[in-house]
């Protein structure tokens, strides 16, 4: 028998055992039904996250995380670095698109009841990832150290301080002190590029592993055994790719036509500028707090509002364990609550922008 020169694939297979992964991917199938379109949003969120990681790493080559240099370094990226304006604007826009995609993904999984047994942990890891992406947004927003971000951070951490018992500790922990200073900036930078990414990696790995393990969930109205399926590779993946390319085109257009503003450098001694507002994904909470009366049944209104949102967040994480589907009932509590929450979020956000 003559010795065969092994191909590269064989060489890697002997050392990595990669064909097992290949087989897994080749077997992966995606159900085709009335609601299949929502399957794209998980991959879209993942793609936009990858865009964030890449543009974020590029920005790391020039960004300087101290109060004296942060603003100037972002200005430098915007004006001196070749295509710096492009990388920075894509990073800012993609953050917003990613969070929007994450919300859509979450609501679609909610209404299609993708969290049913045995996928409870997939849901829990996903909910935590959603909160993580909000934390990414909040910490990243401060990094250019401009006036709007400075005051938005001040207000946001003030709200954290209102939480009972742990509030004051939480405020100091977030701010790196009693006030928002350069220490806050350095700390938020650490959160944004190290702690949050590490946590996100673990949660994401868990989430993706569980999705592969359990396969794609189908809505309650569909029979999983009779539903037609397509292969992930190449059919579904090519569709995914089209969506991702469209996202790239949209991001490039946003960066060139609506470049992200730099604003003015933060000055702790000057008064807050008019019309400060957190990023859009916090706006509905911010607007709610504006409308809550000062006292409700003798208790502090703002505190109650914050506790209410905290409770809502907790319920979100525990959704698989608190919702029971009753096949005999004409309507179920969960989609009703879900619709109310969604409408509320949209309405309050719209109100904030119309009024402000």
């Amino acid at each position: 028998m003559s010795a065969r020169i092994p191909s590269w694939a064989d060489w890697l297979e002997e050392r990595l055992g990669w064909r097992a992964a290949q087989r897994l991917i080749e077997h992966k199938e995606v159900p085709q039904h009335q609601h299949s379109i929502w399957y794209y949003f998980g991959g879209m969120t993942l793609f936009l996250f990858a865009v964030q990681v890449c543009t974020g790493i590029l920005l790391l080559l020039y960004y300087r995380p101290s109060a004296e240099t942060a603003f100037e370094s972002v200005q430098f990226i915007m004006t001196e670095v070749q295509f710096g304006w492009l990388v920075r604007s894509i990073h800012s826009w993609s953050a917003n698109l990613m969070i929007a995609a994450a919300f859509v993904h979450m609501f679609s999984a909610l209404f299609l009841r993708a969290f049913r047994r045995p996928r409870e942990l997939t849901w829990v890891s996903g909910a935590l990832l959603l909160f993580l992406s909000l934390a990414f947004g909040f910490s990243g927003y401060l990094l250019p150290w401009n006036k709007l971000a400075f005051f938005a951070t001040k207000v946001g951490t003030d709200i954290a301080g209102v939480v009972p018992f742990i509030g004051p500790f939480l405020l100091r922990f977030l701010r790196g002190g009693d006030e928002v200073t350069g220490a806050t900036l350095t700390r938020f930078f650490g959160f944004h590029v190290a702690i949050l990414p590490a946590t996100a990696t673990i949660l994401l790995a868990t989430h993706l592993y569980l999705v592969q393990k359990h396969g794609m969930s189908v809505p309650p109205s569909v029979d999983p055994n009779k539903v037609p399926k397509v292969k992930f590779v190449p059919d579904f993946l090519l569709h995914d790719l089209i969506g991702w390319l469209a996202a790239v085109a949209i991001l490039a257009a946003l960066a060139a036509l609506f470049p992200w503003e730099l604003g003015e450098k933060a000055d702790p001694f000057s008064p807050a500028p008019a019309g400060i507002r957190p990023e859009w994904y916090f706006v509905f909470m911010f607007q709610t707090l504006k409308y809550i009366p000062a006292k409700i049944l003798g208790m502090d209104g703002e505190l109650l509002g914050i506790l209410f949102f905290g409770l809502l967040g907790l319920l979100l994480v525990l959704t698989p364990f608190v919702s029971k589907e009753r096949a005999d009932k004409r309507w179920n509590l969960l989609p009703a609550v879900g619709v109310i929450v969604l409408v509320y979020i949209l309405a309050l956000s719209a109100l904030a922008y119309l009024k402000g």
């Binding site: 490039a252 060139a256 730099l262």
Partner: protein, 417 residues
């Protein structure tokens, strides 16, 4: 010499024993009275004389060491001990001067104190009328106060820079008081609306002039028509220098017109604007220069030049601002543009040469800068357009890719199906 006579007549304040304010029976007693008699005692704590260890007797005479515990009012308010009661208004100035014009005495308290206030006062309009027996005019106590006299540097003093106009205005803005002197009473109203008044009173800018800056303090008198410009020129030195070299200097002198004031007024000096220059009816130039005169042509040329430079700088500024807000790097052109604005300010000062040729030089420097800045702004906007074109190209590539993928998908599904 005659100061000495006054001293001998009334006794100098320094002859009186220097009593501690707190131990002064005058103050102790008068604090227990009411109204007009109590006021001076209450004010004694804020009075600089008391703070330096002087007391009531240094002006009024009498003995502050007797009184409440050791005697009666008559004992301290004793004519024998030099008590003069309320000083005669005609003698107040000399009374103050008995200390304040004595260098040996004053240097014990403030070695840098001036001692010529009384001498100056006697040369002033107030002083001359005062000596002639007019008791309506201002004397020391009218401006500085009689009791509770604060140092000039104290913001609560009636003669602190920001309060001077109101102090002078107490008489000079009062039509009844000024009726017999035949001088206008609108100066304070005019001053308060002027650019100097606004700077001093609203912005607390102590560099701005007030009444005494141009009229003098103790030797207050209006500056003469031929010398008022020297007063303005104290601060506005460059304009005064240029004016003196201009054709207006001779013309104004011959026409007995005061320089500066003729165009800029004196009490209600308004913030200057380009509208003062030119040939329209409302300009300063048109007041004298007829349509066919050389001055008219010069005014027209200078106005056109300045307005032109202003416009070019504004255009450049807008262009650069547009580029900057779009994220372009334009810090150098913006820096250069500030030099252009300097030229515009300098040009407005150089108008006082009243020579279009001289002005042209400054204007041309400014124009050159405006042109360069405009070019930089255009270049930055050009780069912006390049980015948009690059975007269009990328989007086209991506759309082509998407279209091909769609075809590929169709092909694969046809093969499978």
């Amino acid at each position: 010499m005659w100061h000495l006579m006054l001293f001998l007549l009334f006794g100098t304040a320094q002859d009186q024993p220097v009593a501690k304010a707190t131990a002064s029976s005058c103050v102790q007693c008068h604090l227990e009275l009411e109204g007009e008699l109590q006021e001076p005692a209450k004010l004694s704590t804020q009075d600089i004389h008391f703070q330096r260890g002087l007391s009531c007797n240094n002006c009024h005479g009498g003995d502050p060491t007797v009184g409440i515990d050791k005697g009666s009012a008559e004992d301290s308010m004793s004519r024998a001990k030099g008590y003069i009661g309320r000083p005669d208004r005609k003698k107040i100035a000399a009374l103050c001067a008995s200390c304040h014009s004595n260098l040996d005495f004053m240097r014990r308290y403030n070695p840098q104190a001036r001692v010529d206030q009384y001498a100056e006062y006697l040369t002033s309009v107030h002083g001359r009328k005062y000596q002639a027996g007019d008791t309506n005019v201002a004397t020391c106590t009218d401006c500085h106060g009689a009791h509770g006299v604060r140092p000039v540097k104290n913001p609560n003093s009636p003669v602190y820079a920001t309060n001077v106009a109101a102090t002078c205005g107490r008489c000079h803005a009062d039509a009844k008081k000024m009726a017999s002197y035949g001088i206008p009473t609108n100066q304070m109203d005019l001053y308060v609306t002027s650019v100097h008044g606004a700077a001093l009173i609203k912005n607390r800018d102590l560099a701005a002039p007030t009444c005494n800056s141009c009229h003098g303090n103790h030797g207050a008198a209006p500056p003469g028509v031929d010398s008022v410009a020297n007063v303005c020129g104290q601060c506005h030195a460059m304009q005064w220098d240029m004016f003196k070299k201009s054709p207006h200097q001779k013309a104004f002198a011959e026409g007995n017109l005061p320089a500066c004031v003729t165009c800029h007024e004196h009490h209600d000096i308004k913030k200057t604007s380009d509208d003062m220059l030119g040939t329209e009816q409302s300009t300063s130039c048109a007041t004298c220069h007829d349509k066919d005169s050389r001055g008219y042509a010069a005014a027209a040329a200078m106005k056109a030049g300045i307005v032109g430079l202003k416009k070019d700088l504004e255009t450049a500024g807008e262009l650069l601002h547009k580029a900057e807000t779009a994220g372009m790097e334009v810090s150098r052109p913006i820096y250069d543009l500030t030099e252009g604005k300097d030229r515009l300010v300098l040009a407005r000062v150089n108008v006082h040469y009243f020579d279009p040729v001289a002005l042209r030089k400054v204007l041309d420097e400014g124009e050159k800068i405006a042109r360069t800045s405009q070019q930089s702004g255009s270049k930055a906007l050009g780069e912006l357009a390049f980015r948009r074109k690059g975007l269009a190209v990328s989007v086209v590539i991506l759309l082509v890719m998407i279209a091909l993928l769609l075809l590929k998908i169709r092909q694969i599904s046809r093969k499978a199906g």
